[in-house]
Subunit: 277 residues, 2 copies
């Protein structure tokens, strides 16, 4: 069973009038819990705040969120904390209430049982047929309108394939269904621009920081799927998986983990604790 706090109260349900249900009118965060503490907390809370701002309402008080997060996750070695913040109930149709009362839905989930090889020896990924629509106004936000990811993830059932890469409607590489994408080429990083669609991941940001410190350049741009063939290494990131090397993407094979991937992975893992508060 999953423990859920809805607006601070243990509950297994959400008010039927909540705008998350009706319109996906909110944002979410997926936070790694290790030794009872949320990792990269400030980054998550910061993104949550910015996401709410872009949707036009005020995020809950971070102190309230950390108290509720602690209430759910203390004494848990490893777990996943999901935080949903919606605009709350009310309004008339699409029209939001003048003074929204955002709702908080915090739930604690078991740590996913991914094979340790995914992290150590890499994964195989496919390219999804489902495309991401482009809308700069929503791009980057981890909002609750996630049908494209659901449809993309429904395309395969083969357990040998751990993730799917998604292209936008103009056929540019964007991200994985639940992760961000990096390519290594000539010793530097390439990662898709997220100003038209996609989710600006916390771990993507961390990787770019760590690379900067190492003097590894990182180019953010538009990349066609054909560029996968030119990459020396490939890896995926998110807050829960950290970095997963990719050993095969579609028909392209890679050394996994590659040299740069391994370096960044070890930097990320070694600094994880220091960044968790």
């Amino acid at each position: 069973m999953t423990a859920v706090l809805v607006n601070g109260v243990f509950s297994d349900s959400v008010p039927a009038a909540d705008r998350a249900i009706h319109y996906g009118d909110g944002v979410f965060e997926t936070v790694a819990i290790r030794d009872g503490r949320p990792e990269l907390w400030l980054q998550h809370v910061n993104r949550l705040r910015k996401g709410c701002e872009r949707l036009g309402f005020t995020a809950p008080d971070p102190d309230l969120l950390i108290r509720e997060a602690a209430q759910l996750s203390r004494n848990r070695d490893r777990a996943v904390l999901k935080i949903i913040v919606s605009r709350g109930s009310g309004g008339r149709g699409y029209r939001a209430p003048g003074e929204p009362s955002p709702s908080r839905i915090l739930s604690l989930h078991p740590w996913p049982e991914w094979p340790e090889e995914y992290r150590l020896r890499g994964i195989r990924v496919r390219i999804c047929n489902t495309r991401l629509g482009c809308n700069p106004q929503l791009a980057g936000i981890k909002h609750l309108n996630r049908l494209e990811q659901v449809l993309a993830r429904s395309e395969w059932d083969d357990s040998a394939i751990a993730e799917g890469l998604m292209l936008d409607v103009e056929d540019w590489l964007v991200e994985g269904t639940m992760s961000n994408l990096f390519m290594v080429r000539n010793g530097g990083l390439l990662t898709p621009d997220l100003s038209r669609c996609g989710v600006a991941g916390i771990m993507r940001e961390r990787v770019m920081e760590v690379a900067r410190r190492r003097g590894i350049r990182c180019e953010v741009g538009r990349f066609a799927p054909s560029e996968l063939a030119m990459a020396e290494e490939l890896f995926l990131t998110n807050s829960i998986i950290g970095i997963w090397p990719v050993y095969r993407a579609d028909t392209n094979d890679y050394a996994a983990p590659g040299e740069i991937t391994l370096l960044l992975q070890s930097d990320i893992e070694n600094t994880a604790t220091g960044l968790s508060t």
Copy 2:
């Protein structure tokens, strides 16, 4: 207070694990209730079924839906019935459960108190800055990912403006935030193509049917906002409002109701009852 049936049981809440909350993973219908009966019921149920199919799950049994609809709406002169069908709970992240148990959330709402002039003398509309992203895979479906409509509707607060028109990211006219758009030019109808974004409205379909019967031609295509200036009449449709003439769109003025608008409006209103079962 709103009466809500969640999976057949009166309730004011929805399971916290429901995929409508997490991903907007479902569809909805907004049905006019008159004299205790749902109007255009077959059309609504048909669209619901097609929407679920396109999202990859099976819609609830229509007999079950009509029983629940009747349970909520009998003895009500005029009300709005909202039906949400989601893929239900479960799955791992975006991945849907292999055998989903879709949920049904039926809620009855008061009939909106729109001024009678809207229908009789028309409304004023603006053009929204919020754009619709294009994704043919989701286009036309009345799904639960509605952030674009929420953001568009939040752009104005002036009660003199009843609706906003939305363009797609390539600046083509698509629809209103909660309605479909028709222009009248040279005595024929023009309405935006919805194969890349937008919601294929039940009332839009009805208007096209009624027009066909009257021998009024209807062209579905891509229209730029500049074409608003060339229209002789303009009107908006949805299942609740029926047809609203438009007397002003942005800086363009129209006779409202225009001749063709009035004709279609009267045809729709006269046949409404006959179609309600």
